[in-house]
Symmetry: C2
Subunit: 356 residues, 2 copies
């Protein structure tokens, strides 16, 4: 499959689907850090070693099957690399150092592999909704198949060796993207996330800088990678997710009882503005997208679904816009194009819903 | 025709049509004040005289033909009387003193007659767009037919006698409702309307109190009724209208050249909010309706037309809302119902446009 096809479509396998508890959990992700034995970590490796890693990785991806393709990042334009970041297929760090870097992915983009990021290999599986155990199983199966071809750096007492000691052991990071609009609205999100942090989980805004949660989207992930099995990590994080889901749902229930008209008005206006605006900044678009995701969760917007809003999160972003335009755009032109693409996307979704 | 039918439909003959220069001129109106000879003016008449006027008026309306009906206001609820005001069929003053009052109207509501307002009779013809000469011709024909049955109070040197001396002579008030959103936006409307006032025309906001022009709708009317023929009054006012139209069009042209995206955004958002909101105050609704009327004028909203927005002006108002609800509503409930009726009206208009 041509990389172009991946870059052109704003959806991924995970983002088109709907998983359990999709009213709060957008996606679940498991990432495994792996390094090839006897080659130095990317930050210290020689150009020859970097090339060797690329060669070995490409060969190993070959055995993952016809469903996989391997793409070097060096030939890509900066906006195209950004699109890969916007689709959660590579990290911003990898996009910034494309020379000896590559990404491999399955056709549906649910599984992917970064090469020469902080570690030689970073395997990732993303699933829609609250689906950590399945993401782990798939990542584990993928890992087994790669390990049949590659010799990993592994120590019996330390587990998988990683560039950063925080990844030692399982090399695993499990995370979920959660949408907490009403906890944010009610001001309760701070206390909840503080509690989650205290028991050993990291929480950050999914988009934007620092802890600012653009679009009310947060990522919750495990911190510990050592001294626990992968299954334990996944089970614990899943429990935490259960509590986060409950807290958000209770807040929604309360808000709906207290101000049903204001809630419906907020959702209806957000949809109307996204459908009608001719200028949209990222900040406004993300705020409105959050409102309509909430509307879907509350059954207020039958004409669209989670897949529609998931795609909007990519469509709105500067890399994707630059790709559609064929060039980097100044902010004012981005706002015009963003509004147009959002409008057209919603029109198509409505037409599809009308035809159902 | 039952009065109920008039009260239930938010449209009138004039508001469903499109006349010349409809991009700026919403409607043209000619009103004639007439009194019956040898009966005192309403402010001074006895109950018997009031009844006599009603009886004479009802008989005279009978000869206007099958297309006409005569309705006494006394049995109507206050909200229903307000609907007649909102549809421009009677004045607020008549609605406040319904005891000996009546209204007659043609089925399409383009012609109507108030009985026992400030004068015994007030004939009115409303036409869509810039159409003063036709409104005058129809009012004149209606007047001739009534005069065949009634003896008017008339003095050769003073013309028609009226309760207020400002109406003496022709007893005619010609007016036009004009939509000046961009002159308001650019702050130029003040100077223009001052100039119009200086040459002898009255300008006021069409809705709301005093000179505040809710929805950017203004009424321009003649002040002089004496010493000029009806044709002269109409021709002069029509000239003034031509200048007002030109000024507004030039401002629109300029704005469109300077900020096409912002203009399109403003119109698109207004439409989106009217389509999506679940709570709408009158003030916001009138502001948004002004924006979409401008959008229609600029060809930006092919899914709706002037008839759609004309009906919204009635749908949004408290009398009509109370009629739909079957009772007077508190403000919060009005905002919910207003939003629902506006939304449904636009949906129907879109569906009709889709079917064209």
């Amino acid at each position: 499959m041509e990389l172009k096809e991946h870059l052109d479509r704003p959806t991924s396998g995970w983002s088109r689907g709907t998983g359990p508890d999709a009213d709060v959990v957008v996606s679940s992700r498991v990432r495994l850090a792996r390094n090839i034995a006897n080659i130095r970590f990317p930050s210290r490796q020689s150009p020859e070693e970097a090339t060797e890693v690329l060669t070995l990785a490409e060969r190993a991806v070959g055995i993952l099957g016809d469903d996989w393709d391997f793409y070097r990042l060096a030939p890509l334009t900066a906006p195209d690399r950004r699109v890969l970041v916007e689709k959660h297929l590579i990290s911003p760090q990898l996009a910034r150092q494309p020379q000896a870097a590559a990404v491999a992915m399955s056709h549906d983009e649910r599984s992917s592999l970064m090469v020469n990021e902080e570690d030689h290999l970073r395997l990732q599986v993303m699933e829609p909704g609250r689906n950590l155990p399945q993401a782990w199983q798939e990542a584990n199966a993928m890992d087994d198949r790669l390990e049949a071809d590659l010799e990993y750096a592994f120590e019996p007492d330390l587990g998988y060796l990683t560039a950063c000691p925080t990844n030692l052991g399982t090399g695993m990071r499990a995370s979920a993207m959660v949408h907490l609009p009403v906890l944010v609205m009610s001001g309760r999100v701070g206390a909840l996330l503080q509690a989650v942090t205290k028991i050993g989980y990291a929480v950050r805004g999914m988009y934007g800088e620092g802890t600012d949660a653009v679009g009310n989207l947060f990522q919750v992930s495990n911190q510990r990678t050592l001294g626990m099995s992968e299954e334990e990590i996944v089970a614990h994080l899943d429990q935490v997710l259960g509590q986060v889901i409950q807290a958000e749902r209770e807040s929604r229930h309360e808000l709906r009882n207290q101000s049903p008209d204001h809630l419906a008005d907020r959702v209806g206006r957000a949809y109307g503005i996204l459908r009608g605006a001719r200028l949209l900044t990222t900040a406004e678009a993300m705020r409105l997208i959050s409102d309509i995701r909430l509307g879907i969760a509350l059954g207020m917007l039958p004409e669209i679904d989670y897949a529609t809003v998931n795609a909007l999160l990519v469509i709105c972003r500067s890399g994707y816009l630059a790709r559609v335009a064929g060039r980097e755009l100044p902010a004012a032109e981005r706002d015009v194009l963003r509004a147009r693409l959002v409008r057209e996307h919603l029109q198509r979704a409505e037409a599809a819903a009308g035809g159902r």
